[in-house]
């Protein structure tokens, strides 16, 4: 193709006035190994466009959304059945018979007994608190350590 023609087309191209056919002509021209040196950069541009047309999407798209839908509804149904089951079972468990009440009261009195004896026990162990008191009173012995520390501190600077 005549160079003149290409230059004219390029001008039109940059004004956005070329047709798709003319743009195909341009792409064909710039596919050649050698183009006019002052148009070299167009070769890069059109080369880029041509190279980009080859890029493809290769990832798989999971379309079995329909199955997921079934599973979803199945789980909803399962939960519904479960809840209905729990609802209808509950009243039976809730009815309290005389025997139940008796057992409850008995258990309660036993537990009360246990807690009462426990409290008694802790009250008796109370005198152990005296040991703590004695401990705080012996605290003044720490004063002994102070003078020792002072002596050591005084010695150090003298050595240096």
């Amino acid at each position: 193709m005549v160079l003149n023609n290409i230059e004219q087309l390029l001008e039109k191209y940059e004004d956005g006035l070329t047709t798709l056919k003319e743009e195909a002509q341009l792409k064909d021209y710039f596919k050649q190994e050698t183009v006019a040196p002052h148009l070299e950069h167009y070769k890069v541009i059109f080369g880029y466009y041509i190279a980009n047309q080859q890029e493809t999407f290769t990832k798989n798209v999971p379309l079995n959304a329909k199955n997921n839908y079934k599973i979803k509804w199945l789980s909803v149904a399962a939960v519904a059945v479960l809840m209905v089951g729990i609802y209808f079972n509950r009243p039976k468990e809730d009815t309290i018979t005389e025997a139940d009440r008796l057992a409850y009261n008995q258990a309660k009195s036993y537990l009360e007994l246990v807690s009462r004896t426990f409290n008694k026990g802790t009250a008796q162990v109370h005198y152990l608190g005296a040991i703590n008191k004695a401990g705080t009173q012996v605290d003044y012995l720490k004063e002994m350590e102070n003078p020792v520390g002072r002596i050591l501190n005084n010695n150090k600077p003298q050595k240096q």
Binding site: E14, G16, H41, V44, Y48, Y49, V61, L63, A65
Partner: protein, 180 residues
């Protein structure tokens, strides 16, 4: 479409759906990649668009042009994504850090002039990016592009012209003194 039947909605099978979608899935992907840059994100976006189409397949027969509709969907999806990403980045990214990054990338890509073109297009405003993608790579005509991007055909032509000039100017300037 002649076989539209009100009482009996036509059920589209998976193969029928794929026959419609497969021819343009790459175009969706490439547009997404042009906007989102990263390959993984573009793949996710494409997947999302196809899944949305699949979910709405019952309505698909009402669309006059599924392909154009999908491209519009892709555009909207990606622009939304970019918007939310931008909002996040504003909080985290330090401007100095970004400058370093660009300089480094430039150094790495200096030798590859095709990558230069990609970089230049990346820096264009979104609308010009999309117009170049749809016209110079996907070879849609301006009327189709106008519909896809919700613009008027004149605006498409103007955006195209600006983008083409900007790409050529930037490329020649980098070739002359930026890179040697």
């Amino acid at each position: 479409m002649a076989r539209r039947n009100r009482n009996q909605p036509t059920k589209m099978t998976q193969t029928e759906f794929l026959n419609i979608v497969m021819p343009f899935k790459d175009k969706v992907f490439r547009l997404a990649k042009r906007l989102l840059v990263s390959r993984e994100e573009a793949e996710d976006a494409t997947q999302e668009v196809i899944l949305k189409l699949w979910k709405n397949k019952a309505k698909m027969e009402q669309y006059k042009n599924v392909e154009a509709f999908s491209m519009t969907m892709t555009k909207n999806f990606c622009l939304d994504k970019l918007k939310s990403k931008q909002a996040q980045n504003l909080k985290i990214v330090h401007s100095n850090y970004q400058d370093h990054n660009v300089a480094l990338q430039k150094q790495i890509e200096v030798n590859d002039s095709l990558k230069w073109v990609a970089k230049i297009i990346e820096d264009l405003p979104e609308q010009q990016k999309m117009v170049v993608q749809l016209r110079d790579i996907e070879q849609y005509d301006n009327d189709e592009i106008a519909k896809m991007l919700d613009m008027n055909p004149t605006a498409v032509r103007v955006a195209l012209s600006r983008a083409r000039k900007a790409i050529r100017e930037k490329l020649t300037s980098t070739h002359n003194y930026g890179v040697k």
